[in-house]
Symmetry: C2
Subunit: 208 residues, 2 copies
Amino acid sequence: MAVKVKKKARVEAPEERRRQLIDATVSCIASHGISGTTLRKVSETAGLSLGLVNFHFANKDALLQHTLRTLAEEHHNLWKQKMMKTALPPVEKIYAIVEAQFHPKICSRKKLAVWFAFFGETRHRKIYREITSGIDAERMETCRTLLQQIAEERTLWGQPDKIAAALEALFDGTWLNILMYPEAFTRAQAERQVKDYLGLVFAQRCSG
Amino acid sequence: MAVKVKKKARVEAPEERRRQLIDATVSCIASHGISGTTLRKVSETAGLSLGLVNFHFANKDALLQHTLRTLAEEHHNLWKQKMMKTALPPVEKIYAIVEAQFHPKICSRKKLAVWFAFFGETRHRKIYREITSGIDAERMETCRTLLQQIAEERTLWGQPDKIAAALEALFDGTWLNILMYPEAFTRAQAERQVKDYLGLVFAQRCSG
DNA sequence: CAATCCACTGAACACTTGTTCAATCATTCC
DNA sequence: GGAATGATTGAACAAGTGTTCAGTGGATTG
């Protein structure tokens, strides 16, 4: 009966264990909030012992930081990759960034809950802000550059940096709406909403 | 030397004490997050004794709920009042709602920190969502109605409910940007940003 | 096989938490 | 003035927290 099912090994590679613990942390934050995320709950969710958390992470705060960093990297990798894949036209590249923002892998309710749990703590834990600010700034700058390129070939209704800022706000705002009122706001609607805004900005309605 | 300075009375009217405790809670959440807000810190911030918190509020959770409700009511009262004050034209009424959203009394960094601290907990504490959903829905419905009225007298670039949803996202998104990157995003800029969006939607660029 | 290594365990520790409650104090009422 | 009322205090308590660490055992090496 010794089927070769990948059972939970008693001993695993450190990276694998860290990943398991981070996954468990994401689940815990999503269902109990940061204030309700204890090391006991994390270890229990991961099916591991309490002491193991402090073995793989210096302390609880390090675990939380790694969790946020993992989410941030995942997001960063996705929009970067999606954007690179698309060939030349800048308009399509911006749309690719929008699609990455609302990709199921990134924009699940569970992960949104974790994102906003951290956002809610950014004021007094500036390390959290530092972790996210990097990718936020890079994406916004990328959008600004793309908009600048678009502006050279067609009339844009607004300045590129203003539009990039509005885009950033739409990203975060629609995320929050999906998190709080998932019955009223969906990923697909949010994606359409942001694209509609871009369509409004791009349209050469009455090219004089 | 007995100047009639309003010193902290040892005994105060219950409502006054409750207000003091809620103010202290706002300060605590803003500087330590919800997870770092303890009854000891709240009572210390308020300059009152520990036991008094549980005397005026059933428990810690009741205190937090009253705090959120107070913020929600303050916001609701402001935009309602600002909107009523403005005379007839619906366009001006929408602008009044925008201005209320970014009014210094509502949109201070301190209060934004508290708002997002609660947003970060809404997934597992549905009571928080219930408290805010009421005013959110009412404001969005009001905007939708106003946009419908505007659509009757001029061409609107988009459907009223879609625009109302985008407006909602812009409100929340700009709030988050101000909270996280106050050096890069200000209240005034945010207000202008939202108004620019409305300008884009309202403009009869090439009225055929 | 024996020895070494190190991921792993969970009991134990010091500390903080929310909550309770008997005692205290200022005020109000007769 | 004296009693009654009710707001206020802070010590005490049980429950839960993050962290430590001596010990366990499965894998790897010689």
